[in-house]
Symmetry: C2
Subunit: 177 residues, 2 copies
DNA sequence: TGCTGCATGTAACTAGTTACATGATTGT
DNA sequence: ACAATCATGTAACTAGTTACATGCAGCA
């Protein structure tokens, strides 16, 4: 799903600033993806020019002014159209698997180091998930919750797959030769 | 892993043309990723300019001439450096999960349609895997084989996760309301 | 006659990233 | 004194995609 549709989806429920959108995105998909201001603000600009959203400046005291974005009817229509479009096949490019493919060219200790390294970074993903879990369980709609649980299981599966792969590496002695 | 490193990895074992590299890539990572000529040829050009590879034109009769690429010492060094660099966390952006998050805005029949649709595209991934499996089992080195098996399990996990998610959708009645 | 395979390449485009620039307020 | 949070935005860059252009050989 492209950023535009994602942003429109968030705006379907409530008006938001670019800053809000980033927080919301981080909360919703942050454990397996990221979105920077460098792509949000240009996207909002383009969407306003295309008539998918409107914005109004909110003057604030003691905090920077902000631009609250509102979805238009045209925006709602664009969102629905994008949501109904057929899904393509994702590219689950996994950096560890790519390294594993070329492991023959590394020293055994380097193989172990990379594997441990990768599992540590997976752990960071779990930390984020655990951090968000209570808030999500409290505020998410049934589909958002299902999405979260799907993501949680996805992360668990990747983790146990990696653990078993590393175990296979050890048992076959390929981490020592 | 960037294309350059991937290409260097393939060239570590044997000299190849851009065309060969595409075939090899498709065989090795094709079930979860893709690489087009539009990125291979410019990459090879850049790599030759950087001294990572050299190339020689092979004149052929009855077939178009080809440019066989050979890795240089500098290229081998660049490959090793990239292989030893620490791994970042991957972004497992999953298009179905993104849709699921916004499912509240769709009609129940549209939800079912998207879910079935996505599972069909996952099936295509399995078809490719099954097609390649015998060749890989015959020719792959132990690490390449481990990588393939890791990919196979990855695909199985995604599949069963999706199946259970769709089942949860049905059981909760959220596909009917 | 038209499709598939072999083989190389360019041009225009899409979608994002990181780093930078600004600047007040609140908490440690 | 220093960092974090709120808040918006630009510029330069990276990495890729799709569509196009070319052209011969072999097969059905």
């Amino acid at each position: 799903m492209d950023i535009q549709t994602m942003i429109l989806g968030f705006l379907m429920n409530q008006d938001m600033t670019g800053y809000d959108i980033r927080q919301k995105f981080d909360m919703s998909f942050g454990f397996f993806s990221g979105l920077s201001y460098g792509s949000i603000y240009p996207a909002l600009k383009k969407m306003e020019a295309a008539g998918l959203i409107t914005s109004q400046l909110m003057i604030q005291e003691g905090a920077p002014n902000k631009k609250l974005c509102t979805i238009t009817d045209k925006g709602r229509e664009a969102f629905h159209e994008a949501m109904r479009a057929p899904l393509g096949l994702d590219k689950y490019r996994n950096s560890f698997m790519a390294r594993l493919f070329f492991f023959a060219h590394l020293e055994p200790y380097e193989r172990r180091e990379l594997a441990v390294n990768y599992m540590n970074s997976l752990d960071k993903m779990f930390e984020k998930l655990r951090e968000y879990e209570p808030v999500i369980r409290a505020y998410a709609d049934p589909f958002e919750l299902l999405c979260f649980e799907c993501g949680l299981r996805f992360a668990e599966d990747v983790m146990s797959n990696m653990q078993d792969t590393v175990k296979a590496l050890e048992e076959s002695g390929l981490d020592k030769t």
